[in-house]
Symmetry: C2
Subunit: 406 residues, 2 copies
């Protein structure tokens, strides 16, 4: 049911990254559910994580390990989120790191653990430990597609993105994978996203770029307004492209990298929305003419979360009054409703706070018919704007989430 | 599909109130859609209204008229909300007041207009004006059930509540009707609620009591988080019981009235949730142990709005991890997740931030099976609490809202 989601791209080798994928038996029988990333020594690694106070055990361990030593391995299981699991959850996450560290000969802090799946059930830690040797044996430079599949939960398709660019005679690659389809309203990161480059970059600079770009990609998508306990987004710069290590945002190569990195991050974020649970529409909500950017952000998210707007989108029904009703309750200070304009896919729907004088029902029908919908609200107050991406709300969403554990 | 909604009660005559109900042809052929309340001279009338900036034309007129003179007539149409209709919407609302005022011989300001239905379409004002004589001719003291039916939109049943009480030898009645099933997340009022008493009470006191009680009733319900453009709640004290006019909150009769009034308001508010679009569950969300009441309110509403919690409720699936995940993202400052407890219908589900040691899947199944669900979260931080009421999220909700205009 994914909307305009392209096939998984051909991702070339990124020097300094190898991937192993196997079955631990956590998710379902005969499903890849354990993914191991091996990074070369000296790679810069940055991460951003969920702001949910009930953050999962692996998120806590991951943050601690990231801050203590150079990361060498990312270990990802699906099928169980290891969240809402208290102290034993932390112990279990650490056990998997320990087992891996012992077998590959690194410090336990060099392993970053990630989990995704059902919340609140104990992690079957022995199944993971037993599968680690197979994941190590499978390590290879071209396992990207398998990794994309291996981190899926309710996703219907694996999600990947890649860009290459040249700079002063050298070729650089930025590529990544993501997963997520429900419980999607990332707050500082997404469900799971991993982006790698062979560029050489100082870790603090990479972290600062990641924090900035995540606010233009994963932090601007929502499927169902529910922020996950396990959101994690990791950026890696292996340095194997052998450029002089970047340390400043102002260097020309840094700027070119940010451009490619943003494209990859946005494509991965959009892929999550395109594959959103039950999605039949890919919807861009743009709010312009705000005095403060946060008014635009807030209004756009309120529209994107409204069950009434989402069901109207599902029906391709130009029930645009519901959109105005959300704008009115979004809490924009000093909003003058008589200045509000609404366009959908280029059609002027509302002007001066009411139905456009030229509006015809057939315009509304045409505007709402396509799979890709662009809603643009002009608040008519100032010059700030923001944009978020979301899905509609369908019967399939209810079915998926009513039957998730069965 | 309503959950535990009782039959419309037998409401006795309330002296000073007469009701006329007729068909204006706005909603559908052969459906009552115009309701007229006539109030005696000298009745105290108080109102609270939507905080949506896109409030409907009749809401604006209603607020203006309430503040200028004594109200004598409430004129309610369904089928069209007259919202998002700009200046012509205001003119249309005023035209209906004018037509009625002329025929009954009162000042135009003595008429309060109300509309509910589709947003953004022009009000067919002539149909209403043409139907006013029939509404006047139908005025009678015992038209309560017809009025309950006449204000329905997607409601499946009319909603009424009544209490009588004695005080120092006199009998008093408090009774009302309400409507609403979708776009329900009242903010200062509900979709439409009208409560009448024969008590004699100063208008300012009535208004202050209404504002307080609405925060324990209509302002604590949510079906789909969408605040309507037309929310209005009106309280009337006709004074025909001939008690000495109440002017203070501290008088014993005022306190007895507040108790009956609160029961009626809560029953009417709950009726909206019980008849919520597609509802298969009536859900009470209680949050205790908060430092500030607003933390409890916020957390309870976030749980009540979560599509993932609501679909799990629809499936009677004890996927309680989703509830903890919402608690974690609700923004409670200094939340210590290791102190959080969760009970559902009396079963201890989570303790100290994780699954209760005694928890069995069959406890969860039993807890989630009934039509009436009580979710209780203890934040373990302080002594403040709050409670909201909501529904689950079903296929029927999607069907109703995808097909609303067809």
């Amino acid at each position: 049911m994914a909307v305009g989601l392209h096939d998984f791209p051909l991702i070339p080798e990124i020097k300094g990254v190898r991937i192993g994928v196997t079955e631990a038996g956590i998710k379902k029988a005969n499903k890849k559910d354990l993914v191991l990333f091996e990074l070369c020594e000296g790679a810069s690694v940055a991460g951003v994580f969920t702001q949910n106070a009930f953050c999962a055990a692996p998120v806590r361990i991951c943050q601690k390990h990231l801050s203590t030593t150079n990361s060498r391995y990312l270990l990802v299981n699906t099928g169980n989120a290891n969240a809402g699991t208290g102290k034993s959850g932390l112990e279990n996450a650490l056990k998997t790191c320990d087992a891996l560290a012992l077998q590959v000969g690194v410090d336990v802090d060099a392993v970053l653990p990630f989990s995704t799946g059902v919340i609140g059930e104990p992690l079957q830690v022995n199944k993971i430990i037993d599968a680690i040797p197979a994941a190590i044996a499978n390590l290879s430079a071209d396992n990207w597609n398998a990794a994309g599949v291996g981190i899926m939960t309710t996703d219907t398709l694996p999600k990947g993105s890649v860009r290459t660019f040249e700079f002063e005679g050298r070729t650089y690659t930025v590529a990544g994978i993501s997963k997520g389809a429900g419980m999607i309203r990332p707050n500082m990161a997404t469900m799971l996203g991993y982006v790698f480059s062979d560029i050489s970059m100082d870790e603090d600079l990479l972290h600062s770029i990641l924090k900035d770009v995540v606010n233009k990609s994963f932090n601007r998508i929502t499927v169902d307004s529910d922020t996950s306990t396990n959101d994690s987004c990791i950026a890696v710069a292996t340095g194997m492209a052998s450029n002089v290590k970047l340390t400043s945002i102002n260097e020309p190569l840094t700027q070119v990298f940010i451009s490619a990195f943003t494209e990859v991050m946005q494509e991965l974020a959009h892929a999550i929305v395109r594959d959103g649970e039950g999605a039949t529409k890919f919807v861009t909500v743009e709010v312009v003419g705000a005095v403060e950017q946060q008014d635009a952000t807030k209004t756009a998210f309120e529209i994107a979360h409204s069950p009434l707007v989402k069901t109207a989108l599902f029906a391709s029904d130009p029930n645009w009054g519901r959109i105005l009703a959300v704008v009115g309750r979004a809490g924009v200070e000093n909003l003058d409703v008589d200045k509000v304009q609404l366009h959908i896919n280029g059609f002027e729907i509302a002007r001066d706070g009411g139905r456009s004088p030229d509006y015809l029902e057939e315009h509304g029908q045409k505007a709402m018919a396509p799979d890709e919908i662009h809603i643009c609200i002009d608040l008519g107050m100032g010059k700030e704007s923001d944009m978020v991406w979301t899905t509609d709300f369908s019967h399939e969403y209810v079915t998926i989430n009513a039957e998730y554990r069965t």
